[in-house]
Structures are given as structure tokens and as C-alpha cells.
């Protein structure tokens, strides 16, 4: 799936991240330059320690690059202060984590609206209702997370990520804690968010089946971008992963 005009929702150029000092330096990222296109579902894959999580954290403004730059919607993250970064995350980024996605003291509805509530922003009610019905949560809104199943919790997380109509949604192993049926359900919702709601998603995963839902896959190894694949299938991804030696 390639559209004629691809614009980058987020990008890095020369992104390098070094941990440690002197003798014990570890390169988590080495000169990574990638673009994540608007309206696309991109997966980042790679073996453990390949730097895929670091890359995502740096795009999210949760971690700082040692050198190079990360840009979201035209904003250079390295130039921003903590408060600006926080507001950027609130307004322009949606998050889906592997687990512990929800605030236990808030209801499903409050959790979905959390970024909007934090910004004192009413949001687009029509859009929020559309998101809620897309993930089939209408009858669960007043429940607290402890009263929801794992799959339902993850659906709330997806809805939250979408609620503020962010520029980009970052998902870190969103199905890692779910059984395969529930996982497939979540991935279907994410796919629908891109196809029907026009969202942009970047997902870190090591599961070839999950990655096959994406439009495009970026392969990382030892902090480098080593390969790219468009319109993947699970088999092709698996083959590629084998060749990368994971």
C-alpha cells in the first residue's frame, strides 16, 4: 500500500544513543534515520537488544538521544523542555503499552479521556464516541480496570491512544500479554484505526504475526536499520527474522 504523497508524521535523522561511559559504552542506536509516514501502520522489529524500544522511546520524548534528532509533526524533540515534551505527548502522541496501561482508580471512560482531561480539553465528542464504538466498549465505560478482562483493558488502552486524535500512536508490544485470539482482536482494531479512522501507528513487536498487520516493517539489529519490508506476511517476516539471526 503506497499512496502517491507520503508525508512523515515522525522521523529521526542520525539518531544515536549511547549508554554508559568510557570503557563500557553501549550503542543502543547508531545513526538511525527513518521516517514514519502519516496514515500508515509501521512495525519496528528486531531481536532483543537491537534498539527497537530505545528508538520508540526517543521518538516519544521519553528518552533523550545522545546525538541526531527526532522530529514529531515538525517539532525537534531535542530542543524541548520537560513541560513542552509532556504537552506534546499529551496532544500529539497516543500510547499503548504491553501491560499496566490504565490508572486503576479511574473508570474506563475516564481512562479513555485521560490525556484530554489532563489537558483540560473537552476533545471532539463525536470522534470519541466513534472510537468507543469501534473498540466495542460502550457497555463497559463505568467499570474500573480491575473489573475488566485483559483484552478489554487493552481495548481501553487503544481507545485512549485514539481519543485525542494524536498525530501518531506508539505501541510497545501491545499484544505481548494477551492470548492469540484477543491479540488478533486488538491488532484488528489497530488496523481499523489506520484504515477507517486515518490514524498513524508505530508498533514495536517481536511477533511476526503481529507485524504482518502493518503496512511496512523496519528491521533493526545492533542499533542499525538493517532492512525494510512493505505489505508483509507472517511467513516473509519469519524468514527475514531468521536470516537476521534472532
Amino acid at each position: 500500500m503506497t499512496s502517491p504523497t507520503l508525508t512523515a508524521a515522525a522521523s529521526t535523522s542520525g539518531a544515536t544513543k549511547i549508554y554508559g561511559k568510557d570503557d563500557s559504552v553501549v550503542y543502543a542506536l547508531r545513526d538511525v534515520s527513518v521516517e514514519f509516514y502519516s496514515g500508515q501502520f509501521t512495525a519496528i522489529m528486531g531481536p532483543s537488544g537491537s534498539g527497537k524500544s530505545t528508538l520508540m522511546h526517543c521518538i516519544a520524548g521519553l528518552d533523550e538521544l545522545t546525538s541526531g534528532s527526532a522530529i514529531i509533526d515538525g517539532n525537534d524533540l531535542s530542543q524541548m523542555k520537560d513541560k513542552e515534551l509532556t504537552e506534546l505527548r499529551r496532544e500529539k502522541i497516543g500510547f499503548i503499552f504491553q501491560s499496566f496501561n490504565l490508572v486503576p482508580t479511574l473508570t474506563a471512560d475516564e481512562n479513555i479521556r485521560l490525556p484530554l482531561l489532563l489537558g483540560n480539553n473537552k476533545g471532539n465528542e463525536e470522534w470519541i464516541q466513534k472510537v468507543i464504538s469501534t473498540v466495542h466498549l460502550n457497555d463497559r465505560l463505568t467499570h474500573r480496570p480491575s473489573e475488566l478482562s485483559g483484552g478489554q483493558q487493552q481495548r481501553v488502552a487503544v481507545a485512549r491512544a485514539l481519543a485525542s486524535e494524536p498525530r501518531i500512536i506508539l505501541a510497545d508490544e501491545p499484544t505481548g500479554n494477551l492470548d492469540s485470539t484477543t491479540g488478533a482482536e486488538i491488532l484488528t482494531f489497530m488496523r481499523k484505526a489506520v484504515d477507517e479512522l486515518g490514524q498513524t501507528i508505530v508498533m514495536v513487536t517481536h511477533d511476526p504475526v503481529a507485524a504482518a498487520y502493518a503496512d511496512r516493517i523496519i528491521f533493526l539489529a545492533d542499533g542499525h536499520v538493517v532492512d525494510e519490508m512493505t505489505d508483509p506476511t507472517a511467513e516473509r517476516v519469519l524468514d527475514r527474522m531468521k536470516s537476521l539471526g534472532s
Binding site: K83, F95, F100, V103, L106
Partner: protein, 845 residues
């Protein structure tokens, strides 16, 4: 297992510090107060050992009346006895001694020292001798009726120097003297912050006491015989009708030390009562910290259980930790307490109460007491959490949550309600007529019940109190409200110290405001005059009775009556007796005479307080025998009873003293102005008269009534100060709990920060949770405090306290303060919460 326990302790230094902090604070107050008491005792012991260092014998009157609170009134002896003693074989020096009320007026016209507060103001005899502690530092010794010396501290405070004219107020009124000398007392500027005016013996006796009379004779011998033998010889030469006794130097030293000791013992007990309250409050904090840490270690403990540790081993590991924390915390608390006692001494110095340099005394009993009590308290507080930790099922290791989630059990509600019901039952039994001592059980029952019920009440009350926050602070308020209710047990335990502190403060305030209300209404009713002259002379005399008669003669005055006070022996026990002039006092001050008038008070009749008469089973016509300070006895007939407020339970006619050597003073003078004179005019002339007299203070009716409540305020201030210790511990308790909660909620905080919560919002959330917790304690404390106050007032109804008044403004103030406490306690935990590393928080599984 022991090694695991130790590793557990060292592995979590932050937790160790927090737990120890609670122990340290609790024990610091304990050790601080006992070190302070011991140091004070030692200081005074040394002081009096020093005072009587060269005294081998001591002669004084054997006529003494002991009153309540260990005060005593001893007769004076004629100065002629000095010459008799001087002639005794073996005596090298005799010094007359006198200590009485005197007040030095500074160069700015203001009297030094204060009425009724702070250290006393004295006058005495200066005489250079072997036994005198006073030495002239500057100038010369005072001689004759126009010369005086003052102590160094007073000279400095009053900006007085040798050659100045100094005004001094004594028993005989106020007079101007030539300041010829400045004296120092041993190695200090003035003893214990008291001020001293010194004269030669005839002047001192005449001006401060009674011409020709002194308090005692200090005697130094040539050491040719023992002190006992010397005293025996002296006693032999003194005529028996002079009614004197002779003590050895050691005896008078010991007696004085014991007297001060028992006065200080009361103070010491008061201090330790409050330090034990503080320790009790500390128990809650310790218990809470151990409970939370047990909950946070649930998975770890479950894992240990899964790989084969027994329940007992888990429990003992935690108890070992408690013992270590207890010992370490108490040891640090001990040292902190020494610092605290030094701080108290420094505070006294700052208030210019110069204690002689007795040095610091740390009794070994204070060390052992602090260590043992601290360790036992810590261990006891940890017992329940440790047992609970042992009960964790091995399977919990596999579970996801490690948070205390169990709701309050039904058993808890039943127990709590049972205690409260029993408590209320006791209280209502007492109101129905049962013995007042049952009130104690009632109060205890209600307190224990409320503490047991705490977790049940905590959730609904916290949710209710959190409403405004949720309403007006948006999502941060919603989260704060939910956070304070998410773990009711923890919230209840955290707010318990606040609850206890606030309930005591409210109860004491309610009691004080009831007493003040009572004083107010009673005096407003009894006092029919316009002005009063009031004096507080520390039991050393008072207003000269001539002032009242002088004022009564003024044309601007319709009438003036002095209310005298003396001590006399009744049934072998010292009692305060009021003395009035019946014709003068009628119509000015009504003491609430029942079925009688002042006219019935003759030379040989007495009025008795109704409650006292009832107790003694006296009726009109009963006889009462009084022994006065000069040793004479007289029988009085009860002429009637009174039901109003008076400083004493007995009233006699002043004419009883006419022609006797019974010294009597007025404590107050009540004045009614002439009708055709305006209040301002009357005040102006009266003020001048009183000032010229140099004694007492002129007050109008309102000021006088307010001044009567002054003592209540002073006591209230002291109790507030002592309860402040508990409040500090309560604040620390909130800080610790919040910190532990913040540690526990790292992931949640990380998530919130990731999805866009600013640091400011994180702070707001923690702050409101803290405020809700603090308010929860305050609300429960206020409710119980008012109840407690009512119960205390009820228990005191026999003492004449009949009306309960609610301290409305203080209650509001306490609510506001607990809000502030919540904000303050949250400062550090909120800052810590903003420092949560998002990536770390999200990464930990």
C-alpha cells in the same frame, strides 16, 4: 533467616530511614523531657547546695501553714533574735535573711518582670558576710532607708547605673531610692531570671515585710563543734515563746531541694505525660510503616514461602527488622532528645530565664528507659504486620498485584461498634448518676472503637471530603480523591495520629472556652462595680489594705472594697480564706450570698461556699475553728453560704485582723465610680492614684473579667505547646505514608507522565491526597474532641463548671490548619513523585 532479615534491612535503606524516623521522633521527646527534667533538678540542687554552702545553722519560725500545691506560709521572726544567736559560743557570723515581693521600675518608668508570668520579682537584705551569696560587683552596699542595690541582670534590663534614683515597689508602697550598688549572685547575673532589690536589714523589713521582722537567720560557726551541736546550742538560747526552730545547714539544704524537687516533679510528670502521648501517636506511624512495607514485600515473602520458608521464619525476619529499627531508632532518638533538652534550655535563656550553669545531666535511667521503651514499642507495633506477613500464601508470588486491597471486614465493624456502644454506655451511665471515674472507661472505649472502625469510615468519609477536589481540580482531583480512598486501612492508619492530636486539642480548647465562658458570666454577674485593681505578686503579699480605703475616700468614687486573702489552718490543713469589709463590699461585689447579706458577717462569723458546706455537713450556726499564721486560733460561726465564684471557699470579716499581727493583703480592689463622674474621668484619676501607689494595675470591668481568664490562656498555651509534639509526629506519619505510596505507585506515575501528566499535575494529585487524609483525621478528631470536651466539663460540674461552650472559631481554625498540614506534609512526597523516571517505571515488571 536472620541473615535474610538483615539483608532485607540493609537492602532498603530508604525504608529503614523512614521507619526509624517514626521511632526517633517518638523516643526523642521521651528522652528530651527526662533529660531536661534531670538537668533542671540537678541545676536547682546545685544552686541550693551553693546557697547554703557556708550555712551551718538556720533559724526560722516554727509557725507554718501549708496550703495546696506545696505552698506554705511561714511566720516571720523578730530581728532581736539575731543578737541572741550571735552571742552563742562557736558562732562566727549571723546574717538576717528576708525574701519578699519587690518590683524594680526601670529607667523608662516600666516595672521589670511581669505580673503573674515568668520568673518572680524579689526584694531582700544585703549584708556582707560569710554566708551571703550576694557580692557587690559595682558601687557599695546599701545603708539606711534611702539606699538600694539591684542585681546585675535587672540593672542591665532597666538601664540603671550606680548613682541613679530607682523606684521600687514593695509591700509598703512605692518609693524612690538612691541606687548605690549593683550586686551579682554567685556566678550568674541573677538567679533563675528573678529580679532582686536589696536593702539593709531595717529598710528591707520595714519596706518589704513588717518593721523589725525577718524570715530567718543564717549562721556560720567556727567549726569547733558539729553543726548539730551548734544548732542545739542556738536553740537553747532562743526563748520558747518566740516559736522558732533551728535547722542544720544540711537539713535546710535538703528541705529546700526537696521542695523545689517536688514542684519540678509535677512539671516533669506533665512533660512525660505528653511525651507518652507523642510516643503513642508514634506507635501508629510505626505500625503503619510496617504494614505498608509488609504489603509491598508480599511477593517477596510469598516467594520465600514457596521455596520453603515457614510462616514463623517470615514473621521472625520482620520482627528482627523491628528490633534493629527499634534499637537504632531509640539510640538516635536518645541523642536527638539531648539536643532537644538543650534547645529547651536555650529557649528559656532566650526568655531571659538565666539558669545557673549546672551543666547537662543525662541520667542513666533516661538512657535505659528510652532504649527499652523505644524498642518494645517498635516491636509491639510491628507484631501484627509481621504476623500478617507470615500468613501470605505462597501462591501470592504468582499473582500480579502486591497491593493491599482487602476491604474492611464485618468483624471489624462489629468490634468497633461494640467498643463505641460500650463507651457511650459508660458515659450515659455517668450522666444518669453513676460514679464519675467510669468516664475514663467511656472515653477509652469510644477512642478504641473509632480507631478500630477507622478503615470502615475512612473510605466513605475520604470520598466525601474529596468531593470538592474532584469537582474543582479536574482529573487530578478525581485521582487524589480515589487514591485517598483506595486503601482505607492505610488511610485510616495515617490519619489516626492527626485524629488523636486534633481530638485532644479540641477537647482542651472546649474545656478552656467553657471555663472562660463561665468566668465571664459569673464575674459579669457578681461584679457590680466599674473598675478593679488587680495584682499578682506570686504569693508574696499583695496590695496594701490602705489602698482600698484611700480610694474609697476619693470624691470620684462611690465605693471601693478590697478582697483580702490569707492562709489559715482548718482541720489541720491550710486553706485560703477571703477577708472583706462587709460595709464596703456590699453593692460592689456580690459573691452570691444565699439567704443572707454581708451585714451578717460579724467579727466571729464566716461565710462558706455552698458545695463545701454540703460536703462538711455545715449549716447556719455550725462552728468552724481557724488557726492563723501567728499561731492564734479563733472559732467562727457559719452565718450563711454563697454559691458564686470566689478565689476561696471561706469569707471572713477583715476586722478580725484589727489589733493582731496577722499580715493581710488585698488581691483585688473593686471600685464603683460616683454617678456624676464619667468613666474616662474616673479612670484618669484612679489610674494616677494606683500608679502613685506603685502597686497593682487599674482595669475597667471588661479588662478585669478578661484578665481573670488570662491564667486559662496561659495553661492552654502550655498544653498546645506540648501537643505540638504529637502534631509533628502526625505530619511525619503522613509524609512517610505518602512517600511509601509514591514508591508503590511508580508504574502508575510513569504511565501518567507518559500519557501527558505534567509535573505540576503530579504534585497537585499527591497534595490533594495528603489534604484529604489530613482532613479525615481532623474531622474525626473534631467530632470526638467536642464529645471529649463535653465529658470533661461534665466531670467537672462539681467544681462549679456548669456550662459547656463550643469553641467555634478554634474549630474552624483547626480545620484550616489541618488543610495546611496536608499541604506541608505533601511537599517532599510530591517532589519525589515528580522525579519518577518514566522509562524505569514502565520497564519494571
Amino acid at each position: 533467616m536472620f541473615r535474610i532479615a538483615l539483608k532485607g534491612i540493609l537492602g532498603r535503606k530508604a525504608r529503614l530511614v523512614l521507619t526509624s524516623l517514626a521511632v526517633i521522633l517518638g523516643t526523642a521527646f521521651l528522652s528530651g523531657t527526662s533529660v531536661f527534667s534531670a538537668t533542671l533538678n540537678k541545676t536547682f540542687d546545685d544552686l541550693f547546695a551553693d546557697v547554703f554552702k557556708n550555712v551551718d545553722s538556720y533559724v526560722r519560725s516554727s509557725q507554718v501553714i501549708e496550703a495546696d500545691f506545696g505552698q506554705e506560709e511561714r511566720q516571720r521572726i523578730p530581728v532581736e533574735l539575731v543578737d541572741l544567736v550571735a552571742k552563742v559560743d562557736g558562732v562566727t557570723s549571723v546574717t538576717p535573711d528576708l525574701q519578699a515581693f519587690a518590683r524594680i521600675v526601670g529607667s523608662d518608668g516600666k516595672p521589670l518582670g511581669s505580673d503573674g508570668q515568668g520568673p518572680p520579682t524579689f526584694g531582700g537584705i544585703f549584708m556582707e558576710s560569710d554566708v551571703s551569696l550576694w557580692t557587690i560587683a559595682e558601687g557599695k552596699a546599701p545603708v539606711g532607708p534611702n539606699q538600694a542595690a539591684v542585681d546585675q541582670a535587672s540593672a542591665k534590663a532597666g538601664k540603671l547605673k550606680v548613682g541613679d534614683t530607682v523606684k521600687i515597689i514593695g509591700q509598703a508602697g512605692s518609693r524612690e531610692f538612691d541606687l548605690v550598688g549593683i550586686a551579682s549572685y554567685g556566678d550568674v547575673r541573677s538567679p533563675g531570671g528573678a529580679t532582686f532589690a536589696l536593702f539593709d536589714q531595717p529598710t528591707a523589713s520595714e519596706f518589704l515585710a513588717k518593721p523589725g521582722f525577718i524570715d530567718a537567720i543564717l549562721i556560720a560557726g567556727d567549726d569547733s563543734v558539729s553543726d548539730t551541736e551548734l544548732s542545739r546550742r542556738i536553740n537553747e538560747v532562743l526563748p520558747t515563746d518566740s516559736k522558732t526552730e533551728t535547722l542544720t545547714g544540711a537539713e535546710i539544704t535538703k528541705e529546700t531541694q526537696d521542695q523545689i524537687g517536688s514542684a519540678l516533679a509535677f512539671f516533669g510528670i506533665l512533660l512525660s505525660v505528653f511525651s507518652f502521648i507523642a510516643l503513642g501517636v508514634g506507635c501508629f506511624v510505626i505500625y503503619n510503616v510496617f504494614s505498608i512495607s509488609a504489603a509491598q514485600r508480599q511477593r517477596e515473602n510469598a516467594l520465600l514461602r514457596a521455596i520453603g520458608a515457614s510462616k514463623r521464619q517470615i514473621t521472625s525476619a520482620m520482627l528482627v527488622e523491628a528490633v534493629v529499627v527499634g534499637i537504632v531508632g531509640s539510640a538516635v532518638g536518645m541523642i536527638a532528645g539531648i539536643g532537644l533538652s538543650q534547645g529547651l534550655s536555650a529557649m528559656l535563656r532566650a526568655l531571659s530565664i538565666d539558669l545557673p550553669s549546672g551543666g547537662l545531666t543525662v541520667p542513666s535511667s533516661a538512657i535505659t528507659q528510652t532504649l527499652i521503651v523505644g524498642t518494645i514499642v517498635t516491636l509491639a507495633s510491628a507484631l501484627l504486620p509481621a504476623r500478617r506477613a507470615g500468613k501470605v500464601p505462597p501462591l501470592a508470588a504468582m499473582r500480579d498485584t502486591a497491593i493491599e486491597t482487602a476491604g474492611p471486614s464485618r468483624k471489624r465493624s462489629i468490634f468497633g461498634l461494640a467498643f463505641i456502644t460500650a463507651g457511650i454506655g459508660f458515659v450515659s451511665a455517668v450522666t444518669a448518676g453513676a460514679d464519675t471515674s467510669l468516664l475514663g472507661f467511656g472515653i477509652l472505649g469510644v477512642f478504641i472503637g473509632v480507631i478500630i472502625l477507622g478503615p470502615v469510615i475512612a473510605r466513605p468519609v475520604a470520598l466525601f471530603l474529596g468531593r470538592p477536589a474532584a469537582r474543582f481540580r479536574g482529573v487530578t482531583g478525581i485521582m487524589a480523591r480515589q487514591n485517598s480512598a483506595r486503601n482505607p486501612k492505610r488511610t485510616a492508619r495515617t490519619s489516626s495520629p492527626v485524629f488523636i492530636g486534633v481530638s485532644l486539642v479540641v477537647a482542651v480548647t472546649a474545656l478552656a472556652s467553657s471555663i472562660k465562658g463561665q468566668i465571664d458570666s459569673v464575674f459579669s454577674e457578681q461584679f457590680k462595680g466599674d473598675f478593679a485593681v488587680s495584682i499578682d505578686s506570686f504569693g508574696f503579699g499583695g496590695l496594701s489594705p490602705s489602698l482600698a480605703t484611700d480610694i474609697a475616700k476619693m470624691p470620684e468614687v462611690a465605693g471601693a472594697a478590697g478582697l483580702g486573702l490569707i492562709t489559715a489552718k482548718l482541720d489541720g490543713k491550710g486553706q485560703y480564706i477571703s477577708a472583706v469589709d462587709p460595709t464596703a463590699i456590699a453593692g460592689i461585689f456580690d459573691v452570691g450570698l444565699v439567704g443572707t447579706t454581708y451585714a451578717d458577717l460579724t467579727d466571729s462569723s464566716i461565710f462558706v461556699k455552698d458545695t463545701r458546706a454540703e460536703k462538711k455537713d455545715w449549716t447556719k450556726g455550725s462552728t468552724v475553728n481557724l488557726t492563723f499564721a501567728n499561731g492564734t486560733s479563733q472559732t467562727f460561726t457559719v452565718a450563711g453560704v454563697f454559691d458564686g465564684e470566689n478565689i476561696s471557699d471561706y469569707i471572713i470579716n477583715k476586722s478580725v485582723f484589727e489589733g493582731t499581727n496577722i499580715v493581710n493583703f488585698d488581691t483585688s480592689i473593686f471600685i464603683k465610680k460616683a454617678e456624676n463622674v464619667s468613666e474616662d474621668d474616673a479612670r484618669a484619676v484612679l489610674d494616677k492614684t494606683v500608679k502613685d501607689y506603685g502597686q497593682g494595675e487599674l482595669l475597667n470591668k471588661r479588662e478585669y473579667i478578661d484578665s481573670r481568664s488570662g491564667n486559662v490562656n496561659q495553661l492552654l498555651g502550655l498544653i498546645y505547646g506540648l501537643l505540638f509534639l504529637s502534631v509533628i509526629i502526625a505530619i511525619v506519619g503522613i509524609i512517610i505514608t505518602l512517600l511509601l505510596s509514591v514508591f508503590e505507585r511508580q508504574r502508575e506515575l510513569g504511565l501518567l507522565r507518559a500519557v501527558g501528566m505534567t509535573r505540576q499535575q503530579v504534585r497537585t494529585t499527591v497534595r490533594w491526597e495528603s489534604i484529604i487524609t489530613s482532613l479525615l483525621g481532623a474531622v474525626m478528631g473534631i467530632v470526638l474532641g467536642i464529645g471529649l470536651g463535653w465529658v470533661i466539663v461534665f466531670a467537672l460540674r462539681d467544681q462549679g463548671l456548669t456550662t459547656f461552650s463550643l469553641p467555634v472559631s478554634s474549630t474552624i481554625f483547626i480545620m484550616v490548619m489541618s488543610f495546611v498540614v496536608g499541604v506541608m506534609a505533601a511537599i517532599y512526597p510530591a517532589w519525589r513523585a515528580t522525579r519518577v523516571d518514566i522509562l524505569n517505571a514502565l520497564a519494571t515488571n
